[in-house]
């Protein structure tokens, strides 16, 4: 069923445009990579902060407050450009294990944020000013760090696993 839907997407004029245009793919990929600096950069800084590895004298709440707009904006751009890249050749993307692994890990990264927000993140006010973050926050930071490193690796893997154009 999924493959049927992807074949339908592949046959749309939009998908053909992404595939056949000389400029579409390089431009979208360049935006995807430039936005890494905002999105991945901010994620890594926040993960390192949760792990007490950087800016320990800053409140975690203040870090979230300053970085969240860039983080959400950056994620939106990553998502849109990622979907555009995918739509150019959806069947081939889906046929690689790197793509499936990347999607599963993106889901896990989202669940990690959700879990943080309903548990230790909800009690942020209690530990915000303490010299050390609680172990649950460190675990969330470590999980996020590992997941995003693997997501980047899987993303690079897709480029090598796809059949050459």
């Amino acid at each position: 069923m999924i493959v049927g839907a992807l074949e339908w997407l592949h046959d749309t004029p939009f998908s053909a445009m992404m595939r056949d245009s000389i400029w579409a793919e390089p431009i979208v990929e360049t935006v995807h990579m430039l936005t890494l600096a905002v999105f991945l950069g901010f994620v890594l800084v926040l993960d390192l902060r949760l792990l007490d590895l950087t800016m320990r004298e800053r409140r975690v709440s203040a870090m979230f407050q300053q970085l969240n707009p860039g983080l959400f904006g950056g994620f939106a751009v990553m998502l849109v450009t990622g979907l555009l890249l995918f739509s150019g050749d959806p069947v081939s993307f889906y046929s690689t294990w790197f793509f499936k692994a990347k999607m599963v890990m993106l889901l896990l990264a989202g669940l990690n944020v959700l879990l943080f927000n309903v548990t230790v993140g909800r009690r942020l006010a209690e530990w915000d000013g303490l010299p050390r973050t609680p172990w649950e926050a460190k675990a969330a930071g470590a999980a996020s760090l590992v997941l995003w490193v693997c997501i980047v690796a899987a993303g690079r893997g897709i480029a090598y696993a796809l059949p050459p154009p």
């Binding site: 390089p26 990929e29 360049t30 990579m33 430039l34 890494l36 600096a37 905002v38 999105f39 991945l40 950069g41 901010f42 994620v43 890594l44 800084v45 390192l48 950087t54 800016m55 800053r58 300053q66 970085l67 707009p69 860039g70 490193v149 980047v152 690796a153 690079r156 893997g157 480029a159 090598y160």
Partner: protein
Amino acid sequence: MHFMAQVLLAFCRWCDASFFGEAIRNSVWLFPFVEIFHLLALGLLGGTIILVNLSLLGVRFRGEPVSRLARDVQPLFNASLAVMLISGFLLFSTEALKMYGSPAFQFKMSCLALAILFTYTLHFRVARDAGTFSPGWRKVAAVTSLLLWVGVALGGRAIGYVNSTPPPGAGS
């Protein structure tokens, strides 16, 4: 040929023939493996530079001196730049002669040299003593920094798309 060009050409030939250049070139997974480090460091380097520049522009971290933020992110910036330079050099060494004749690579290296020079001299100086510079000069420093680093990134992206001219006497 100009003396400097000869030195660069000899250096590129040496890189091409080096054991690491050859090892990465002949391995299926080593090149993408090194690329992953290059991309991860790109995220952190870009992220820290953007934070300092947002502060200089007065968009984020408004309630505090820029110098505090600049001091806080400096270790992350230094570390990610080191990873960028090492991984970038390894990737370069797999096709150094091709890079020698690549206009995109030349553009990238020019931007990189200017970006590093600018960051460690004027940019950090403006960020450290932001109080002594007018908001106008702070914005000039931030925009210059962003343009130079975006130039490095775009030059890097262009390498795969712009043809390289073989150096004189390359034979192939």
